[in-house]
């Protein structure tokens, strides 16, 4: 059961939400891409409902709302620390079905992997999710095969239908926003088919490390890490201390997003490091997304958003790589020791 809203009514809804929440959504930054005269769509706090980009996939995912690119953990002087204040209040984030599934991945790592993460939890506790329905898949998506095309756990779903919006509210506390609107017996659409199909072989295991399928990435990949930074489920970070230049004894400790594809990720003191070849890093990332995480938490980490394929400057396709795994397993055999 949903409501049909006119464009104007939808904008009123967003404005009313903005009174109570900070609203984050995909926004177009004209000329904001790395390359000259190219736009970028990424997340920002929305000041005007018209800014929300509903008809294109964002280049970067929603994850920055929960895991900022750089997040101050605490401030320090020589012998004292002070926890950083929470950077925002109650928030609403517009995202897509695949990303709603990514929230579950983030929760499992940050809340359920033995320790609860204090900084993640305090942002997570103050967030609501509105899914932008995808009646049609975008070109590089493979959500259907990853099982993430139907959203779960959101507070609301919206679907733009020409000049109108179908809005399905799933948060009882928000019912008041819809008083006086006409109810309609219609379920929101979701993508039922993708152009890109992937198949993860059932016999996949770590033996795949011995396969030759990784060799092409030794030379094709340039270890720039863009695939990690756009991925809604890549959540690694590195600690970073900064010092205030006007007072050399005080500063802050931050965590900043890190990439398993970029040099230095595994460096240990004394000069040791692991996975020097870019193909090995590709294999490490791939196995985390479609195997290791599943072994630990019971479902695949990759949500099939296809952003890694969209962003790679070397035109490496993660989905094409997934489809090479079967051949790779044939090559190395299943016996793992």
């Amino acid at each position: 059961m949903g409501y049909t809203l006119s464009k104007e009514q939808f904008e009123t809804l967003v404005n009313r939400l903005s009174e109570q929440y900070q609203v984050f959504a995909p926004v177009k930054f004209v000329g904001g891409n790395t390359f000259t005269d190219v736009d970028v769509i990424r997340y920002d706090q929305v000041k005007n409902p018209e800014e929300i980009v509903l008809d294109q996939k964002s280049d970067y995912s929603f994850k920055e709302v929960l895991l900022p690119l750089s997040e101050t953990l605490f401030y320090y002087t020589e012998e004292q620390t002070k926890e950083a204040d929470i950077p925002r209040g109650e928030a609403v984030v517009f995202l897509r079905s695949c990303e709603m599934h990514a929230v579950k991945v983030l929760d499992d790592i940050y809340l359920n992997n033995k320790f609860e993460d204090y900084y993640y939890k305090r942002l997570r506790d103050k967030i609501k999710f509105i899914v932008i329905a995808c009646p049609e898949s975008f070109d590089s998506c493979f959500c259907v095969d990853m099982g993430t095309n139907k959203p779960e756990g959101q507070d609301m779903i919206i679907e733009q239908q020409g000049d109108q919006f179908l809005v399905v509210n799933e948060n009882p506390q928000w019912e008041a926003y819809f008083e006086g609107y006409a109810k309609v017996d219609q379920a929101p659409s979701y993508a039922k088919e993708n152009k890109v199909k992937v198949h993860i072989p059932e016999n996949l295991n770590p033996n795949i490390a011995k396969s030759s399928i990784w060799e092409e990435y030794d030379t094709r990949c340039i270890a720039c890490g863009r695939c990690n930074f756009v991925c809604p489920t890549c959540t690694c970070f590195t600690m970073q201390d900064i010092l205030y230049s006007d007072n050399g004894k005080a500063g802050e400790r931050r965590r900043v997003q890190a990439s398993c594809m970029v040099d230095g990720f595994t460096d240990v003191a004394g000069g040791g490091s692991y996975r020097k070849k870019f193909g090995e890093r590709m294999r490490f990332k791939m196995m985390h997304k479609v195997y290791d995480f599943r072994k630990r938490f019971g479902y695949n980490m990759c949500v099939g958003c296809g952003r890694c394929d969209d962003v790679c400057p070397e035109y490496i396709s993660f989905s094409a790589n997934i489809n090479k795994l079967e051949e790779g397993m044939k090559e190395v055999g299943e016996e793992h020791a």
Binding site: E79, D117, A269, D292
Partner: protein, 263 residues
């Protein structure tokens, strides 16, 4: 809810200099801790580094630190009376109960002796709790030997084979890699004997091969992994290998599990 990222202040009560670049810092600490666990040690502005516990005292922990990185280099400028930020302990560590009543063989390479020092010390002190205790410890050169005084003490109660890759002068130790001494170890009950191996990856690999050749069972061998652990609580991803996070599932693994981890 607890904020694991905020460190506490710990005072340096004593500094033991082993070599020019390896010191043990005795730090104030009250609480549970096991050998093989680690603390995230930091000096604000230089960042954090995971350092394993090399000794446990009454109200103190020992952290043996090698001056090799940004953080550890700066820590060497700090001495008795100064303070460091700590958080932890993290990781599983060794459980001495796993080794009680058995023939125990410990193979350590270089700084790898730090995490197992607590295990060796326990059984060298409580001799009746082990059938036998053998330590093979390898270092680059006589100048790199750690815990020299401990080793001298352990020799009274355990078989200790100290070896260096190369030596000059009289050092009372063998020359050669730890692996070449493994075949000569006398074990009475191969099914029960246990081994702990800690050191650089290649040393661990060949030591385990040697132990298996000797006749030890895979499940009776423990290894400890060294990785970059930025958070210590299974979040930052740097130490992940396969489905395992070294910081929370390790750093100590039984070999049948440890051998499946491919970086």
């Amino acid at each position: 809810m607890r904020n694991e990222y905020i460190p506490f202040i710990s005072e340096i009560t004593e500094v033991i200099k082993h070599t020019d670049i390896e010191y043990t810092f005795r730090m104030t600490y009250e609480g549970d801790v096991r050998p093989g666990q680690f603390f995230e040690v930091s000096l604000p502005k230089y960042g954090e580094a995971p350092i394993s516990v090399s000794g446990i005292g009454d109200g103190t922990v020992d952290l043996t630190i090698r001056k090799v990185g940004h953080v550890t280099g700066e820590i060497f400028e700090n001495y008795v009376g100064d303070k460091l930020f700590l958080r932890g302990p993290y990781g599983n560590g060794f459980d001495v109960d796993d080794y009680k009543g058995k023939e125990i063989l410990v193979v350590a390479g270089g700084t790898g002796l730090s995490p197992v020092r607590g295990v060796v010390d326990y059984f060298a002190t409580h001799q009746s709790e082990a059938k036998s205790l053998t330590l093979i410890a390898g270092f680059k050169s006589p100048n790199d030997i750690l815990f020299f005084e401990d080793i001298a003490r352990w020799k009274q109660h355990a078989q200790v084979i100290l070896t260096v890759d190369c030596a000059e002068g009289d050092t009372d130790c063998h020359i050669g890699l730890v692996t070449q001494f493994i075949p000569d170890i006398k074990i009475e009950n191969m099914d029960e004997a246990v081994a702990v191996v800690v050191g650089p990856p290649i040393m661990m690999r060949f030591s385990v091969m040697g132990l298996l050749d000797l006749g030890l069972k895979e499940e009776n061998i423990w290894i400890s992994q060294e990785r970059k652990m930025c958070c210590g609580i299974g979040k930052c991803g740097h130490c992940k290998i396969g489905e395992s996070y070294v910081c929370i599932d390790g750093p100590v693994y039984r070999y049948p599990e440890g051998k499946l981890l491919i970086d």
